[in-house]
Every structure is written in structure tokens, then in C-alpha cells.
Amino acid sequence: MKTARILFLIARTHGFQSHLLKTQDTIRLLRTNGLKEMIERLLTTDYSTELTRIAATEPTALQLERMFQVSLSKRWYSMLQITSGHLGELLEVHNSKLEIENLKTIIRAIHGENRITDEQLYSIPRQYQEVNSPALLIANTMSEMVDLLRESPYREIEEHLEEYESSRNPIFLEMYLDNKYYRDLWAEIGKTAYAGEILALIGTEVDMRNLELIVASKYMRLEPRLVRESIVDLRFRLRKATISALISADLQEIPAIRVWQSYAQILQKAVELVNEDKIAEMQTLFSQYLYSYAEETSIRNPNDLVYVFSYLQLCVREARNLTALAIGKQTKLSEEKLKNLLFL
């Protein structure tokens, strides 16, 4: 029996989901004749208020992208305002993904000795910020940044500093953050009474991330040791032995390795795309699988808590689609090429 709090959250999510763009809307946006027409069409959607705020002059793709990211952040964090208790904590852990992305950007900037501003970060409401971003933004060295994270939930990053310093590769710090995120989320989901489908959704996300990384590593000729370090340490439909076999195999040997049937089909297609040097399309394939899975889950489980998590995934899909459309329109990418990059 679901509690009233859960039922309320699911009911509200149904309302929020009705604001998301339908596939037909995305296709209509794809067929527009440029950024200007795209903006005109967006004025009839949920983005109209934000658009009127930035539309004093004709907005650029960069401004639009920023707006889509802000909307995504608002959509994710608005869920926290209509829930509380353990459910709130679960969603807070889920949404910390944006903060982790921000931390990764800061790590990269410090590593490359670049200075960035908060414009380059996802906007996170102050009450949900676990770290002091303004201080992190002015940190000059990695040890300074690690010091600033000492009082945060990411304090264990310190243990990976030595590895970073010896390899001069920020992947070791980033992987700590990713692993922590997924481990915490996994543990938090496990505490709910309706964990099954949610774990399947998050597990699919992890599997897709790992599979994409493994296929990409063959193209990028990454050392197997580095690939092993970059794998999210959670198992869903990929066993440890399977992952090891995939990491050790050559690109052409990947389709022969036994994996779950749906994954086998994606891997086969992904290898073909890498062979054709269509790397962006290969990446789209894995994300497309995840978003399709989220959409199917939301259709199959309209009254379950997983519906909320599917909605959160679909918000990301919409933001990525709109970003691709805005940039594609501004850089005059062909309709066909742009369509291949969309998650429809």
C-alpha cells in the first residue's frame, strides 16, 4: 500500500510530465528553418517564460542551452519541494548528480589550469548545495580543492589525490565521485519498498554508461587498467566476468561475448558504428536505449514510484534534445544529421 505522500508525488509527476515535449513537438522543432523559428515555436511551450526573459535580443544557442539547463535543474529540484522524509532524501541523492557534474568540471578546470565561473556550472538551489562552489571555483590546486571538500560528503576524495598526482589524470578523482553517486543512490533506493523497478532503471543507466565507455575505450585505445578504473562499480545486468571479458576483448570480438540479449544487439550496432567512424551516433545509441527504457517504464508503471525517476530521466532527454536542436540550427547541421543525434 503506497503512502499518501508517494501517491501525491506520483500524481504531481503526471502533471509535470504533461509539460514535457512530445516526440511530434521535437520533430516539428527539427523541421524549423533556423534558430529564430525554433524560438518562436518554443514560445508556445513550457519554456515561454524563460524565453521572454532572455529574448530582449535574438538569443544564441549558448543562451538557449543555458536556459534548458536551468529548466532541467528547476524540474529536478522542484520535485524536492513536494516531498519530504525518506523520499525527499532519495530524490536529493538522485539530484546530487548535477552537483557531481559541477565538481567534475571544477576538477578538470583545476587540472588544466583554467579559470571558470559559475556560468559554466549547473545551477543548484542554495539549500541543496553540499559544497561551497564559489570557494571551489577559486581554488588553484587540486589539494586546495580537496581541502575544501573535507567538510562535505565528498571528503573521501582525498584518498584518490595521490593517484591523481602520480598519473596526472583527473579520471581517478572523477571516478570516485561517479562511484560514490551511484553507490549512495543504489543504497538509498534499496531502502524503499518499491526498489525493484527503480533499481532496474538506475542499473540500466549504469550498464549503458559502462558499455559506452568500454566500446569508446577501444576507439580511444585506452589502457585496460584505466578502463577498469573508469567503470562504475555497480553490477546490474553485466556480471563482473562479462565486464572483464569486454575490457580485454578487441573491438571486433565484442559482439561475440555473451551478454544480455538487448545489450548484445546494442553492442553489435555500436561496434558497426565505430567501424564506420560514427562515434557520436554510437554514443547516441546507448543514451537512446536508456531513454527508451525510461519511457517504457513510465508507461508500464504509471502509478509506481519509478514513474518519478523515469520522468527525471525524460527531463534530461528533453534538455539534451533541445540543446542539440539549438546548436544544430545555429551551426547549420543538416536535418538528417541532426535527427541522428536526437533521442526520439
Binding site: E65, N169, A216
Partner: protein, 204 residues
């Protein structure tokens, strides 16, 4: 030449003008040698410029890949990935060709692309870092051509000025003084002859 025009038609001035003319002619020869050497260098550099078309073609192909990667990842993610790449270190020295300083570039440290985790961005970055040598070379050739061509114009101008203004003016002056001195000599000779004749008449 104004200074030459003012020169008084004396033997001393003639010697000075002849010395100057010899010096100017030597200078002209040196400038002509410099012009030939620069023209030769320019021709060699122009041949090297043929590589630009190929480099441009490759750059456009990379740009197309970049547009795809940018559309897929978005500016925020692309920038985030780019931040991790360390800066490239290029050593720029100057090389003197006939006193024209042309740049000479050497990449001291290429940034490692292994820190980029996104494969489509890695693809673009990897291609770009390979092409960067060619583009640095194109930049070196273009800068050298620009500087040599500028110097060549100056040298040409100087050669033309010497050939068409300075040397003809010296020659005219020398000719004028020579004629003047020759006339003077003839006058002196006639005068002496006349004086001799007059003295002979007085004796008889």
C-alpha cells in the same frame, strides 16, 4: 639629385662624385643580390603554401565532426571536457634571412588527449592535435611570406630609386662637371696658345 646639383664644378667635386657613384653602384649590386635571394626564398615559401589547401580541407572535416559533437554534448559538457586539457607549449624563435626576421616555431609540449573521456570529443581533439603541426607550419610560412614580401617591396623601391634617380643624377652631375672642366681646359689651352702667340709677336 639636389645635393649633386648644388655641387660646384671642381675637380675635387668630380672625384667625390665619382667615389659616391662607385659606392652607390656597389650598394645597388648588393641590394640586387638581396632582392634575388629574397625572391628565391619567397618562391620556396610559396611552394610550401600548397599544403594549405590540404590543411584547410582537413580542418573543415574536423569542424564538421566538432559541430556534431557539440550538438550532441552541448557547450557546457564540451567546455567541461576542454578544461581538463593542459595548454600546449610552443617555442617561437626568429631566423634571419638577409636581415629579415622570420618566425621559427617548435612544439615543446603537446597536451595529452587521454584526459578527454568523451569519445566524440576525443575524436575531434585527436585529429586537431595531429593537424596542429601543419597549421603551425602554415602560420610560419604565411608570416615569413608577409615579412619577406614587405622587405622585398622596400628593397625594390630602393633599387628603383638608385637605378632611376640617384645614379642618373650622379652621372648627369659627373658628366656636367667633366664637360665643364673640359671646357675650362680648352679655354685655358686657347688662352695659353693666344698668350704664346702674342708673346711671339712682341719678340719679333
Amino acid at each position: 639629385m639636389a645635393s649633386a646639383a648644388r655641387t660646384s664644378p671642381t675637380r675635387g667635386a668630380l672625384v667625390r662624385l665619382r667615389t659616391n657613384l662607385e659606392f652607390v653602384q656597389n650598394g645597388l649590386n648588393v641590394l640586387k643580390l638581396k632582392r634575388d635571394r629574397l625572391a628565391e626564398e619567397l618562391n620556396l615559401l610559396l611552394k610550401e603554401m600548397n599544403g594549405r589547401d590540404k590543411a584547410e580541407e582537413q580542418l573543415m572535416s574536423i569542424y564538421s565532426d566538432f559541430k556534431t559533437a557539440l550538438a550532441m554534448q552541448g557547450n557546457l559538457r564540451v567546455r567541461s571536457a576542454a578544461y581538463s586539457v593542459e595548454k600546449m607549449k610552443v617555442n617561437v624563435n626568429e631566423l634571419s634571412i638577409m636581415n629579415v626576421l622570420v618566425p621559427k616555431m617548435r612544439i615543446d609540449k603537446k597536451p595529452s588527449m587521454s584526459v578527454i573521456q568523451d569519445p566524440s570529443l576525443y575524436k575531434v581533439a585527436e585529429k586537431m592535435i595531429t593537424l596542429i603541426d601543419e597549421w603551425l607550419d602554415v602560420a610560419r610560412v604565411e608570416a615569413s611570406i608577409e615579412r619577406i614580401a614587405y622587405e622585398l617591396t622596400l628593397v625594390n623601391r630602393k633599387v628603383n630609386a638608385l637605378e632611376k634617380v640617384v645614379i642618373p643624377s650622379y652621372s648627369t652631375q659627373i658628366k656636367y662637371i667633366e664637360e665643364f672642366l673640359s671646357d675650362e681646359e680648352l679655354e685655358d689651352f686657347t688662352r695659353i696658345k693666344r698668350l704664346k702667340a702674342m708673346s711671339r709677336e712682341t719678340k719679333t
